[in-house]
């Protein structure tokens, strides 16, 4: 059975009817065929002659050879096994070994709607692949405008769910990151509350804000985002705290891609100053903090969720997991409904 058709599989690899960030834009270079695995799918990424990125299944519609081993032909990809050519819409445009055969003109390669934003490639993974995608709505700090941002991309050997847990757990800032440049201050005990929003929730300390990692917001919709902010010390210059917009995508059950946009709402010389200091100083310090998270997440046991004793700081995790599981169960049930359309026979 396709693991993506079960509740557990959807929790492990990511819900459908979602946009996921796949990789930094720079990973897909013009003229190249890039193979990556994301959200339980084996994908081929390439850019056409106009630079537009395409995301398709890395599986030749003829006999399933890897299209990523094929030839980039500008507006189409040719499989290297028997030369079948497929375009960006997933339509077979040529079968050189058997011209005029019924495969020609058929749209048979699974193709995922793709967009680029804030330096990353995103793709839509629909439950029903013939249905149009929801619009990709990106959080304000990475939508451009008054905000300035840098994307930090990582791949960790841990389930994406452990990263999600980590992001929804503000209290670890005061412990794990206590010696960092940003999270040295603030109390080590806190009472948290959850506040529902239109499409997610905010999890926040009731008695401290703007001191450490004090709140986090989960936005759960056409894409899942985690947003939080962390105060900078005076040494980072004018411009207030920095905001992290995070997006996660499973690579496999035990590996995931993490996108951390570090954002600051600054303009003019203050913006230039931050961008200079970020490159010259702050990027390395931010990275060292993230490494602490990585070491923690990668060393977690595979059955971490099976034997926990959660307490009040962990209510956001409970809420998020419940949300995820409920939606995964709903999607799995929809996928279990008998298919209505009969497959088209191959001539």
């Amino acid at each position: 059975m396709n693991p993506l058709h079960s509740t557990d599989g959807l929790v492990t690899f990511g819900l459908r009817d979602r946009w996921y960030p796949l990789c930094p834009s720079g990973h897909v270079r013009p003229g190249e065929l890039v193979r990556i695995e994301r959200a339980g799918e084996q994908l081929l990424l390439w850019r056409d002659a106009a630079g537009v990125v395409h995301v398709q299944e890395d599986r030749c519609p003829h006999r399933a050879a890897r299209l990523s081993q094929g030839v980039h032909m500008g507006d189409r990809v040719a499989c290297n096994y028997h030369g079948v050519q497929v375009d960006a819409e997933g339509t077979v445009v040529s079968v050189p070994g058997s011209p005029g055969c019924a495969l020609e003109g058929r749209r048979v390669l699974r193709t995922f709607p793709a967009e680029e934003h804030a330096g990353a490639v995103f793709a839509w993974f629909g439950l029903d692949e013939s249905a149009p995608p929801a619009p990709l709505e990106v959080p304000e700090p990475i939508a451009g405008g008054e905000w300035s941002q840098f994307l930090c991309y990582v791949e960790w050997d841990a389930p994406y769910l452990y990263s999600l847990d980590n992001l929804l757990d503000p209290m670890h800032g005061a412990f794990l990151h206590r010696n960092s440049h940003t999270m040295f201050a603030g109390k080590r005990e806190a009472v948290f509350q959850i506040r529902a929003t239109d499409n997610g929730f905010v999890f926040e300390k009731t008695d401290q804000r703007g001191v450490n990692f004090d709140w986090v917001e989960l936005t759960h919709g056409g894409a899942d985002w985690v947003t939080l902010d962390i105060p900078y010390p005076d040494t980072a210059g004018p411009g207030g705290p920095f905001t992290i917009v995070a997006g996660l995508c499973a690579i496999s059950a035990n590996r995931h891609a993490g996108f951390f946009w570090r954002c600051r709402k600054v303009s003019g010389w203050e913006r230039d100053s931050w961008r200079f200091l970020y490159r010259n100083r702050l990027a390395a310090r931010h990275y060292a903090v993230l490494e602490q998270d990585r070491e923690m997440a990668e060393a977690m046991p595979a059955d971490a969720w099976d034997r926990e004793n959660l307490y009040q700081h962990d209510i956001a995790l409970v809420r998020m997991r419940r949300l995820l599981k409920a939606e995964a169960a709903k999607q799995a049930a929809r996928l279990a409904e008998p298919a209505t359309a009969a497959p088209v026979p191959v001539a």
């Binding site: 005076d234 040494t235 913006r271």
Partner: protein, 61 residues
């Protein structure tokens, strides 16, 4: 790799900011009482300082 000048400039900026000086005239004055100077050795002005930051930030306008 950042040049030694960029590192010195970064050090000085962090030190000034760390004292809580975050306004443009204050930062320029503090920079002038430090050892970091533009290539020609002259004093910083608000415009030479902001132009230098724009250059160092690699701001794509």
């Amino acid at each position: 790799m950042p040049s030694s000048y960029e590192n010195a400039f970064g050090d000085e900026l962090e030190a000034i900011y760390g004292r809580g000086v975050h306004d443009l005239p204050g930062v320029v004055a503090a920079l002038n009482s430090s050892g970091v100077r533009p290539a020609g050795g002259e004093d910083w002005t608000e415009s030479s300082f902001t132009a230098e930051l724009a250059r160092l930030s690699g701001t794509e306008k």
